[in-house]
Structures are given as structure tokens and as C-alpha cells.
């Protein structure tokens, strides 16, 4: 009988392991609710760069102010884990600052995992409601095809704020040395870049200067600016990033099959041929190498939403131009996003017992006061007023790794992201960090896009059709772009064939669905 015992123990042990293993998957922390004044929030884990949420100065302060106790659960690698988290038996009351795509909002909203909020917002979120009244495009961007709102926005009214606008950053030293002005249109851009690469502006006697040079994944930013110059920015940056624009007859069109795109690629191919775009534009340079090269003063032009992308060392040397105009007096416009920069900043789940309380809690940050509190903190503690302007206190300004990260040790809304906040204007933020606000070579607000469309909300049926076509078309366009720009394909010879391939993938169906969504959006 003894051996049986051994065998049985073995089996028992292994089944215990099984239970433990399967237990891991459905472990729930949301279930331990203490009292009715506690809410449970799930947020991404940033504890590697700032204090844990429960220890963050701002949240301790807000607990006193709101009287609501927050039980935080933070998650690393959110994108990989979010689906797993949804399969839990009990969900947290709400997801704070976590990314869900519009498709996911609709999908899980319809399946009853997320709660519809459109009826509660007017009553329990007066500040957000006010914003939505002032700017109807906010509500439009949040509303799903069946009229629900499942997520609260990260929003801001400054077209330059919160990383909304792409700019061209020129090497100021080189411009000065060659006695050149920052270009305003595509022709001048070509001239300036030619001077950059041929006249040895860094003065080392070697022809190591590059024109447009970024790491190899970043050809898109330049193309956005050029697209705007050729008239494809009529519906703003978000629309361009979703590959649509609106033509003169108010009809939605696919960007990459338009004749304007043909001009864009022709222009880019010209730059590439003349060596004004780095030969490594599509392969071979990673971000670290690029930043290192920027330190050697070989970067003439890059494009991004903020100059700090090129590294703290080199950033002071770059001056931003916000609008690139086309040839022959064609006007470009500011490449800026919809005021709704995130649609899922705060999502309330089916397991929230008291959604009103959650809404009230988060609504504060959509007020002017709450927005300031989320960014500046409290006067005398985290900021001081100097010459009528709010500047962080010295312990933040002198933080070893920079003022921005310093502020993040106290307050939450520092790095634009999926925050449920009203964003502060960009210039104020720069001043708060003790920096001079960026001085543009032109006037960004002079020419805004005619309208700024968000990413449309799709019905589940639309999104399942779109996702295949979009993935395939994007892939095909990516390959075609390389061939057109590097000159492997000739625009005139290969364009028709390129369009016919797009049609094969499903261009017409895509345009049909997107048009339908645009009509729905206008009616909303």
C-alpha cells in the first residue's frame, strides 16, 4: 500500500499545482471592497519613474479634497495584459489612463463590460458637460454609432498643446551660418536642404551633413507636413493618420489614392534623389544612433511634436516651423489633432456599484481648477507665481533628470497621454518647467485645417471589415512608398498599377464604410 500512497501524493501534489496555476489567471483584487467610500481604479504602472500612485503627493492631496478613498491597482505592460484582465470575474470600478481603441470601446461596451455614460454625464460631470457644450466636436468624437459614450476624453483646446501638432525642426546654427531663413514652402525647403548638404554648415570639412534625417521608422512625420503642403490636411492630422481627408465637395476620400498623394511622393522622390532625405530613411538607423548623430551636429531637419525628441543635448539648437505651404502659392495648414486626443481616458466597468461617484471624482480634472491642480499642484507646495506666471518650485526645477520628470514626482498630468484631463496650453507648460516657450518661425494659428475630424467610431461589423482591409492596405502602401520615394518605381509608370492593387485589397469597400461613418459623424 505504501507505493500507492507515494503515487497518490504525487498526483495530489500535481493537482494542487494545477489549482494554483489556474487560480493565477482569475485572481481578483477588485473583490476586496472595504467601504462605500472607496473606489477601485486600475492604471498603468509607472512606479519605475515616479512614486506609487497611493504615495503620490497629488493623490494623497486629492483624497483629502474629495473625501474618496482610491484603491489603485497598477499594471505593467498594459497592452499585452488588457484582454486578460477583462476575463476576470470582478473588474475594477474603472480604468484610469489606460488605452482602449475605439473599436474596443464599442465592442466591450456592446458586450456590457463598459458602462454607457452619456446619461450620467450631464448630471454628475458638470465640468466635462460644459466642455462638450462649448466644443461639440468632443461629444461627436466620443459617441459610438448607437449613441453611447463609454470613455471620457483626454482633451485640450490649444492646437499646439499636448503633443497635438507636428512641426519641422530646422538646425538653427546652420540656418544662421548660411544666412538662410526657415523655409515656408516646399520650394524653399528644397533650397534650404540643398544648402545644408552641400555647403558644409557644420564646418568640419566633411560632407557628413544630412537634410531630413531621423531614425528609420520616422518617415511619417515629414510626409505629414508635405501632405499638408499639397492640400491633404483638410480634415486634420488624426484624419490623415487614419488615411482619410475631405475634398472640396465635402466628400471623404482615401489619402493614398488621391492625385495629391502622387504629387507628395513625386516631391519626396525628388528630395531623396538629390540626397536631401537621408539614404537611411527606411532602414538601418535606430533611435539611439540618431540621437548620437544629432550630438555630432549632422542633422539638418527633423519633424516631431516636440523638440525634446532629439535629446536634451541637441534640442536647443532646433527651431520649429509649423506650416509648410505648397508650390505656386498653395496654402498648407497646421498638422494638428482633434481636441479629443484620447477617447478612453476613464472607462467605467460593469462592476462599478456607484458610477455617479466615479464620475464626480474624475470630473474635477475637467475644470479649469482641477486641470491646474493636475499639472501644477498647489501654490506654495509645488509651484509659485512669478511675474504673474506659474512656475514649479525649485525642488522640481532642479530635479536631476529635468523639471518634467521632477514634476511627475508630485503631480500626475505631466506627460501627455491617455489622461482624463483638460490639458493646459503648451506655452504655459514650458514656462512652468522654467523654459522659454518655443518660438515658431511662422504663425501656427493663422491657418488651421478647415475642420478637424477624429478617428471615427465603427460598429462591430464595420470594424471587422475595416481591420483586414486597413492592415493590408497600410502594408501595401508602406511598400509602395519606399519604391516610389527611392525611385524603384516611377510615379507616372506605376501609379495605375498601384491603384489597381489597392482596389484589389478592398479600397472601394473601405471608402464606402468611411464615407458612411463621416455622414453619421456629421449628423451626430
Amino acid at each position: 500500500m505504501k507505493k500507492w500512497k507515494v503515487a497518490l501524493t504525487g498526483l495530489a501534489l500535481s493537482s494542487v499545482t494545477l489549482v494554483i496555476l489556474s487560480g493565477c489567471g482569475s485572481k481578483s483584487t477588485g473583490a476586496t471592497k472595504v467601504d462605500s467610500n472607496t473606489i477601485t481604479l486600475m492604471a498603468p504602472d509607472h512606479s519605475d519613474v515616479h512614486p506609487k500612485n497611493e504615495d503620490l503627493w497629488m493623490w494623497k492631496q486629492y483624497k483629502k479634497m474629495s473625501g474618496v478613498n482610491v484603491k489603485w491597482e497598477t499594471v505593467k505592460d498594459w497592452d499585452q495584459k488588457k484582454q486578460l484582465i477583462l476575463s476576470r470575474k470582478t473588474l475594477p470600478d474603472a480604468f484610469y489612463q489606460t488605452g482602449w481603441s475605439n473599436d474596443e470601446l464599442v465592442k466591450y461596451g456592446t458586450q456590457g463590460i463598459f458602462q454607457p455614460l452619456e446619461k450620467l454625464i450631464p448630471k454628475y460631470a458638470p465640468n466635462l458637460n460644459k466642455l462638450m457644450k462649448e466644443d461639440p466636436s468632443i461629444k461627436k468624437a466620443l459617441t459610438t454609432p448607437d449613441g453611447h459614450i463609454y470613455g471620457l476624453p483626454y482633451t485640450g483646446s490649444d492646437p499646439m498643446g499636448g503633443g497635438r501638432a507636428f512641426k519641422l525642426y530646422f538646425n538653427k546654427k546652420w540656418l544662421d551660418k548660411l544666412n538662410l531663413k526657415a523655409p515656408t514652402n516646399t520650394e524653399e525647403l528644397e533650397q534650404v536642404l540643398t544648402a545644408f548638404v552641400t555647403k558644409d554648415p557644420n564646418g568640419n570639412g566633411k560632407a557628413d551633413e544630412q537634410g531630413y534625417y531621423m531614425d528609420s521608422d520616422q518617415f511619417g512625420p515629414l510626409e505629414l507636413m508635405v501632405k499638408s503642403a499639397f492640400g491633404l490636411n483638410s480634415a486634420g492630422r488624426t484624419a490623415m493618420e487614419n488615411n482619410y481627408y475631405v475634398d472640396d465637395n465635402n466628400k471623404l476620400q482615401y489619402v493614398f489614392s488621391s492625385d495629391k498623394m502622387k504629387e507628395v511622393w513625386e516631391y519626396e522622390a525628388e528630395l531623396y534623389k538629390k540626397g536631401l532625405i537621408a539614404k537611411t530613411a527606411f532602414a538601418g538607423v535606430d533611435y539611439d544612433k540618431w540621437v548620437a548623430d544629432a550630438g555630432k551636429d549632422v542633422v539638418g531637419l527633423f519633424s516631431w511634436v516636440g523638440r525634446d525628441f532629439i535629446g536634451a543635448e541637441a534640442m536647443a539648437n532646433y527651431v520649429p516651423t509649423t506650416i509648410l505651404n505648397g508650390p505656386n502659392g498653395q496654402k498648407g495648414s497646421l498638422v494638428t489633432q482633434s481636441p479629443v486626443m484620447g477617447t478612453s481616458a476613464f472607462v467605467i466597468t460593469k462592476d462599478a456599484k456607484d458610477p455617479k461617484k466615479l464620475l464626480k471624482w474624475v470630473d474635477y480634472f475637467y475644470s479649469e481648477k482641477g486641470s491646474e491642480f493636475g499639472f501644477y499642484g498647489k501654490e506654495g507646495v509645488t509651484y509659485e507665481v512669478k511675474d504673474g506666471k506659474k512656475v514649479y518650485v525649485d525642488k522640481i526645477l532642479n530635479y536631476p533628470k529635468g523639471a518634467q520628470l521632477g514634476a511627475y514626482q508630485y503631480v500626475d498630468n505631466v506627460y501627455a497621454g491617455f489622461f482624463p484631463y483638460l490639458e493646459q496650453p503648451e506655452a504655459n507648460k514650458e514656462i512652468a518647467y522654467g523654459r522659454e516657450p518655443e518660438v515658431y518661425t511662422d504663425a501656427p494659428l493663422d491657418n488651421l485645417p478647415k475642420q478637424i475630424l477624429p478617428t471615427f467610431m465603427s460598429t462591430p461589423d464595420e470594424s471587422s471589415q475595416l481591420s483586414t482591409i486597413t492592415t493590408d492596405m497600410n502594408k501595401y502602401v508602406e511598400q509602395a512608398r519606399v519604391k516610389f520615394v527611392t525611385g524603384k518605381w516611377n510615379i507616372d509608370d506605376n501609379w495605375d498599377q498601384y491603384i489597381s492593387q489597392l482596389k484589389k485589397i478592398g479600397l472601394d469597400q473601405w471608402v464606402k464604410i468611411r464615407r458612411q461613418q463621416y455622414v453619421r459623424y456629421q449628423k451626430n
Binding site: 507505493k3 507515494v6 503515487a7 504525487g10 500535481s14 499545482t17 494545477l18 496555476l21 484582454q83 486578460l84 484582465i85 477583462l86 476575463s87 481603441s101 473599436d103 474596443e104 465592442k107 466591450y108 458586450q111 456590457g112 463590460i113 528609420s216 521608422d217 518617415f219 537621408a278 539614404k279 537611411t280 527606411f282 532602414a283 538601418g284 538607423v285 535606430d286 481591420s467 483586414t468 492592415t471 493590408d472 502594408k475 501595401y476 508602406e478 511598400q479 512608398r481 519606399v482 527611392t486 484589389k504 485589397i505 478592398g506
Partner: protein, 318 residues
């Protein structure tokens, strides 16, 4: 009419047999207990998760769970087969893996044969160790090294080319060169490690065979051809069969890291495509369907090659 005594004898024989078998099991109980551990391991980690494969035939949503999600039949498979890039992706996958198979099966054998002929012991073990080392470098670093050596701007190789007046070659961004880069960097990394199994097989060859051949006046090449290769033939066949079982499985990490917009037309393989279509968009059912499909192809290849090996020689997997 059956003979009753015979039946009885038969039954008692069976009983005896069973008792004997049980006795045998009892006698070797510790061995059986030992094998229980891997069996449980395989059940938990390899067979139990297979239950999840059914999401390939469902519209999986975490809200409903694996079992509760609605059945959709072959919807995801048809979507995959009808997708524009289906042919391109399958072709890229097959091209890389067949290319890699053709090179990576014989090369370790040749290298192992060369090792076997080195008579100076310390030299042999030093060289072997050196060839193993790349195997322990992580993929990310390998790709970093590839960029460092083959970059079109300041890459070591291109610097040399330019120094001798040549024109810089776009190794990383060329779709034509990608399969070579992928396969040969894999060879560089794995060839030493790949010799291990053959070295082990060679060490099992009795020395007297070589001595006898030597006395008969056989040359080294004759020894290799007539003694070493026949002796390791079963190992060669088995590892070749196993290699074909991974024909649709071009590694994700390295491909994904080496991929860029300009080599996409040859570097998009099944695994990276699945990642983009399925995981990035959160479509688990679709990914599961593609995964199941490629495993099916792998299994068919394995089966066919194994049958072929059975037919031609006498070594095979089962």
C-alpha cells in the same frame, strides 16, 4: 463448440500475464514514478492549453470566455485565405525556411566532420567552444550586430567597400538581400551548436573500425565516407526530419527586428503577419486560426518526410 478447459487456460494465462505485468511495474516503481513527472508536465503545459485552440473557430471575447464565445466555424480561416497578402506571406515563409533548411542541415555535419578530424585535443575543444559561443547571444544583440556591420551608413562592411572605391550596398533595406542576411546570420549563430548532436554521435563510433581501415590503407576521406557518415546517418535523418517539422515556423523575434519598410516584401512571414493582424488588433481568434493552420502544414510536412524516410531508408521518427 469451444473447449472449456482451453478457455480457462487462456483466461488463467491472461490473468497470469496481467499479474506478471503488474509485478514488473511494481518492481520498477521508481522508474515509473520518474516518468510520471514529465507526463504530468506535458499534460499541463502541452495538452491542456490545446483546449484553447477552439477559439480559432469562435469569435473570442474575454467578456464571454473561451467556452462562452459564439461559434463562427471557418470564418477566420476564410478571412486569412482571402486576404491580399496570403500568397505573399506563405511564399516568403517557405522561401526562408526552405533556404535555411538546405543550408543549415548539411553545414553542421560538415563542420562536425572537420572537428572530428582534428587530432590535437586542446585545439579541437577550443575551436568547438568558439563556435558554440554565438548561440548564447540574444537575438536582439545579434540584430544589433547585423546593423553595426551591415548598416549602409557607417556600417563596417560598407565602410570597407567605400574605402576600396566601391558603392555602398543597402544590405538592410533591400528585399532581395533579406533572405540571405536572415539565413546566414542564423548559420553564423547556430552552426557550432548544431554540431553538438553529430559530435556526440561520432564519439560513439568504435575506434577499432578506424584502425582496421587504416591498416587496410584507407585514406582519411575514405574513412569519413565509409565509416563516419554511415554511422551518423540515423542522426542526420532524424534531425533533418525534425527540421522539416518547423517549415512554417520562421522565428518571430529576429524577423520582426530585422524587418523594415523597404524589405517588407520579402520579410513579412507568417509569424509577423499574425502578430500584426491578430495581436496588435487584439484579434485572438484570427491569430489562433493562423497558428493552427501553420501547425497543420508543419505536421503534414513532418508526416510526409517521415514516410519518405521510412520508404527510402530504415530510420524514421515512428
Amino acid at each position: 463448440m469451444p473447449n472449456t478447459t482451453e478457455v480457462k487456460v487462456e483466461q488463467s494465462d491472461k490473468r497470469k500475464e496481467r499479474a506478471k505485468r503488474w509485478h514488473y511495474v511494481k518492481r520498477h516503481k521508481s522508474l515509473y514514478l520518474m516518468i510520471l513527472i514529465p507526463i504530468i508536465f506535458v499534460i499541463i503545459w502541452n495538452y491542456w492549453p490545446m483546449y484553447g485552440v477552439i477559439i480559432a473557430f469562435k469569435d473570442y471575447s474575454p467578456a464571454y470566455g473561451i467556452w462562452g464565445s459564439p461559434w463562427v466555424g471557418f470564418k477566420h480561416f476564410t478571412r486569412f485565405f482571402q486576404s491580399y497578402f496570403f500568397g505573399n506571406v506563405i511564399w516568403n515563409t517557405l522561401r526562408i525556411s526552405i533556404y535555411s533548411l538546405i543550408v543549415s542541415v548539411p553545414l553542421p555535419i560538415i563542420l562536425a566532420l572537420m572537428f572530428n578530424e582534428i587530432r590535437v585535443k586542446w585545439l579541437k575543444s577550443t575551436i568547438q567552444t568558439i563556435t558554440y559561443i554565438p548561440n548564447f547571444i540574444s537575438v536582439v544583440i545579434i540584430v544589433g550586430m547585423i546593423n553595426f556591420f551591415f548598416g549602409s551608413q557607417n556600417g563596417v562592411i560598407n565602410n570597407l567597400v567605400e574605402m576600396f572605391g566601391g558603392k555602398s550596398i543597402d544590405f538592410l533595406g533591400s528585399s532581395g538581400i533579406f533572405p540571405h542576411m536572415y539565413v546566414w546570420s542564423g548559420i553564423w549563430q547556430g552552426v557550432g551548436w548544431g554540431t553538438l548532436i553529430y559530435t556526440a554521435a561520432m564519439s560513439g563510433i568504435p575506434q577499432d573500425q578506424y584502425e582496421a581501415a587504416y591498416l587496410e590503407g584507407a585514406s582519411r576521406f575514405q574513412c569519413i565516407k565509409n565509416i563516419t557518415i554511415p554511422a551518423i546517418m540515423p542522426t542526420i535523418v532524424i534531425s533533418a526530419i525534425l527540421a522539416t517539422g518547423g517549415i512554417m515556423a520562421v522565428g518571430f523575434d529576429k524577423t520582426f527586428l530585422m524587418q523594415n519598410a523597404s524589405n517588407l516584401s520579402t520579410s513579412e512571414v507568417l509569424s509577423t503577419y499574425t502578430y500584426k493582424m491578430g495581436l496588435v488588433n487584439g484579434e485572438y481568434s484570427f491569430s489562433a486560426a493562423v497558428g493552427l493552420f501553420s501547425n497543420l502544414i508543419n505536421f503534414i510536412f513532418l508526416w510526409v518526410v517521415n514516410k519518405f524516410a521510412q520508404h527510402v531508408g530504415d530510420t524514421s521518427l515512428w
